[in-house]
Symmetry: C2
Subunit: 200 residues, 2 copies
C-alpha cells in the first residue's frame, strides 16, 4: 500500500527529480502545491513547460538565450568580443555576470572533463571554443571552470590546446574569500592563496 | 535588468512558492527543470495541475481523499470508528498512519488556534468534531496536535469543549524520542518527560 493517494504520490515523484530533494522534502512540496490556488497551479505547470519551450541555446557561446538568434550578451554592442570567459555551465554565466566589471563574452562548455563519467573533450564545446579563437579577434581566454579536480583538468586541457595560438590564456585566481576568516579556509585554499600572494 | 531570461525567471518565481525555497534553491531547481526531457516536463506540469484536480477532501474526517465519496480510512470496514485521532493537517494523518498499531479514524482540523494569525475555532473543523461525537459511538478522542504553543492551545480548547460529554479525551505523550540521547533533548522536553515518567 502506498502511503499517499495517487495524485500526491505522482507529484512527490516529480519533485524528487529536483536536485537535493529527498522523499521528505518532496512530500512537503507536494502538500504545499495542494494548497495552491487553481490559477497558481496552472501558472506553475505552464512555467515548467515554458522553460523547456522558450529557452534556446545561444549558437555562439552555448549559453541560454531567449530567442533562436542568440543570447543578449553575444548580441550586445557593449561587450568586448576579444575576451572570452570559459565556464562549465550556463548557470555559471549568471554567476560571473554578478562580477560587474567583466565586459567580455562567454563560452559555455556544457560540463567538465571526467574520464570516469565518460565525459571527453568531444562531449564539451571545446572544438567550438578553438574555432572561435581561430576566427580571430580573441586576445584573452579566461578559464573560469570550477576549482574541482574535473574543472582543473578541463582548464589545463584547454590551456594546452590553445598553446601556440596567439591568445593569452588565464585562470581565475584561488585564495581566501573576501570577508571570510583565514580560520575557515581549508588547507588547499590556503596553499593556493600563498602561491598566488601579491606584493605591495 | 533581471539576471535570468524571462522563462527561467518565471519558473524560479514559481519554485519560490514552495516552503523553505529561497532564491538560490529556486534557481537550482529551475536550471534542473531546464534539463528535463520534454516528456518529464509535461508530466511534472500535469502532476501539479492533477494534484489540485484529483484530490478531494473527505466529507467525514476532512483528510485527503482520492474520490468525492471520502477517504480510504473513513470508508474502511477495518477501522474502529469509536476512536478518533485529531490532527492539525491532512499530512499529519499520513504521519500517524506510520504508527502501525492505530486502527481508529481521524479528524483533520485544518490548522491550529492562533489568535495572532486570526485563526479562531470557527476557522477549524472543531464544530464538525463535536458533531461527530454527538452522533454517538465515539469512545475516545486522541488529540495529536503539534507540541507547539498553538497546538497545545488547540488541544486544551477541544478538551474543554468536550468536557461533560461521554467521551474520553487524551493527548499524545511528550518525552525523549526513542533512540535519541538525553543530551540532545531540550529542557522543556526533559521536563515533560519527567512529568510523564512511568514506574516499573
Amino acid at each position: 500500500m502506498s502511503e499517499y493517494i495517487a495524485p500526491i504520490e505522482r507529484l512527490i515523484e516529480k519533485f524528487r527529480m529536483l536536485p537535493g530533494v529527498g522523499a521528505r522534502t518532496a512530500a512537503r512540496y507536494a502538500f504545499a502545491a495542494l494548497n495552491f490556488s487553481e490559477a497558481d497551479a496552472v501558472a506553475f505547470a505552464d512555467a515548467i513547460v515554458g522553460v523547456k519551450r522558450d529557452v534556446y541555446t545561444c549558437p555562439v557561446c552555448f549559453g541560454l538565450a531567449g530567442s533562436e538568434e542568440g543570447c543578449d550578451i553575444c548580441r550586445s554592442e557593449k561587450r568586448d568580443r576579444s575576451v572570452i570567459c570559459v565556464v562549465e555551465s550556463a548557470k555559471d554565466v549568471i554567476t560571473m555576470e554578478r562580477v560587474r566589471g567583466f565586459r567580455g563574452v562567454y563560452h559555455v562548455l556544457g560540463g567538465a572533463l571526467s574520464p570516469l563519467d565518460k565525459v571527453t573533450a568531444a562531449d564539451l564545446k571545446i572544438k567550438e571554443l578553438v574555432a572561435r579563437v581561430d576566427e580571430g579577434g580573441v586576445e584573452e581566454i579566461i578559464i573560469a571552470t570550477n576549482p574541482t579536480p574535473k574543472g582543473e583538468t578541463t582548464a589545463t586541457y584547454i590551456a594546452r590546446l590553445l598553446e601556440g595560438r596567439d591568445v593569452k590564456v588565464s585562470r581565475l585566481a584561488h585564495g581566501i574569500p573576501v570577508g571570510s576568516d583565514i580560520e575557515y579556509a581549508d588547507e588547499i585554499t590556503l596553499m593556493r592563496a600563498m602561491e598566488g600572494r601579491r606584493f605591495f
